[in-house]
């Protein structure tokens, strides 16, 4: 029976385990790797180069198409900054005011669009209706361009008319 202290066994285990991964310094692997790679360039590198070449070809083609004489596309019309800006036309007064409290169907305003002229499409800005309080409105007749919202009509219901449904 051989007695070895545990510490000794640990050190022997360490030494042996280290020896099992130790060898003479390997020869320089670069030559062997270069030899093996000589025939097989990395796929990602060739792909990258193909992509770069394709992109360059696409740019050249695009430039060639754009530079062809007589076929330049009609440029989009841009308003001349020196020309006067279109004036804000007042919104058509198609919204009819009605007296407060009178039930009436609300008229729906519809804005007609002028026929489209070739070239410039001019969109009229919306008119802003000034806000007025109820006091201001009760002082006189509402102006024609004001919108007055009537209160909601509440129909009176008698309780005796209600039938109990089970």
């Amino acid at each position: 029976m051989m007695n070895h202290e545990s510490r000794d066994l640990d050190s022997v285990i360490d030494e042996v385990a280290q020896a099992m991964t130790r060898a003479e310094r390997p020869r320089d692997l670069r030559a062997a790797i270069a030899e093996r790679l000589e025939a097989r360039p990395p796929s990602w590198l060739s792909g990258w180069r193909v992509a770069a070449a394709s992109a360059a070809a696409a740019v050249v083609l695009l430039v060639a198409v754009m530079m062809r004489p007589g076929e330049s596309p009609q440029p989009a019309h841009v308003a001349d900054s020196s020309s006067p800006r279109p004036t804000v036309a007042p919104a058509p007064a198609v919204i009819q005011a009605r007296a407060v409290g009178q039930p009436a169907r609300r008229a729906v305003a519809r804005q007609t669009i002028a026929p489209v002229t070739p070239g410039i499409v001019e969109i009229r800005p919306l008119a802003v209706v000034p806000f007025k309080t109820d006091d201001e409105l009760s002082g006189g007749e509402a102006p024609s361009h004001m919108v007055v919202i009537a209160p909601i009509d509440v129909e009176q219901v008698r309780i005796s008319q209600i039938e109990l449904v089970e």
Partner: protein, 207 residues
């Protein structure tokens, strides 16, 4: 068609020999990813020994380890475009090396299991206190080597990589794809089992 590979076809920036020590792996990787084979050459010089030892820990044959190391470095060059820097280049490379070595080990199969680890044991130096002690020491190291070789692959790989003195636990953890805690546990279990086998052979603690 992409040009054939050559370490000297795409030279890096002219610099005196030995001055690349200040260039980080990250910088070399970026150059290599742009097609600079000279930068990859520097990475190989830096890490080929670590790659070889990792392969040797898995295969225990210098010839097989060199083949696996070459496989790993070729693979690394081919996959370098996919390296995104989530880990260090060294860890990434060691993981490739370990996987290549394991693949080779699986292909070797039963033949590997029969290999005697005597050569490794013979490389352990004895105390040299006397002929008898040297003989006992040699016998002990052979038994230890045999006990390590008889461990399960999980325990043996953990022990050999941990004792190689080349890698940190984080690197081994990445190679084996296990958490560091699991790795330490495996190393501890490996030691315990080796001691059990030695105890069965009569090597007992002296206390």
């Amino acid at each position: 068609m992409a040009p054939a590979f050559s370490f000297h076809r795409y030279p890096t920036v002219e610099a005196p020999a030995g001055s690349t020590g200040c260039v980080t792996d990250d910088e070399l990787v970026r150059l290599a990813q742009a097609g600079d084979a000279g930068a990859f050459d520097q990475l190989v010089v830096r890490h080929q020994a670590a790659v070889f030892r990792a392969a040797l820990a898995a295969l225990r044959s210098p010839e097989d380890a060199e083949e696996a190391a070459q496989d790993a470095l070729v693979r690394a060059w081919q996959k370098l475009g996919a390296f995104r820097g989530e880990s260090t280049f060294r860890t990434w490379l060691l993981s490739i090396a370990w996987n290549r070595a394991l693949s080779r080990r699986r292909s070797i199969g039963a033949w590997f299991a029969r290999r005697a680890p005597i050569e490794a044991a013979d490389r352990v130096r004895g105390d040299g206190t006397g002929p008898l002690d040297a003989l006992r020491q040699r016998e002990l190291t052979r038994h230890v080597a045999a006990a390590i070789a008889g461990l399960s692959p999980k325990l043996r790989d953990a022990l050999l990589l941990a004792q190689a003195g080349e890698y940190g636990y984080d690197e081994i953890s990445a190679m084996l794809q296990v958490p560091v805690g699991t790795l330490k546990s495996r190393v501890f279990d490996a030691r315990r089992k080796v001691k059990q086998r030695l105890a069965a052979l009569g090597y007992v603690d002296g206390d």
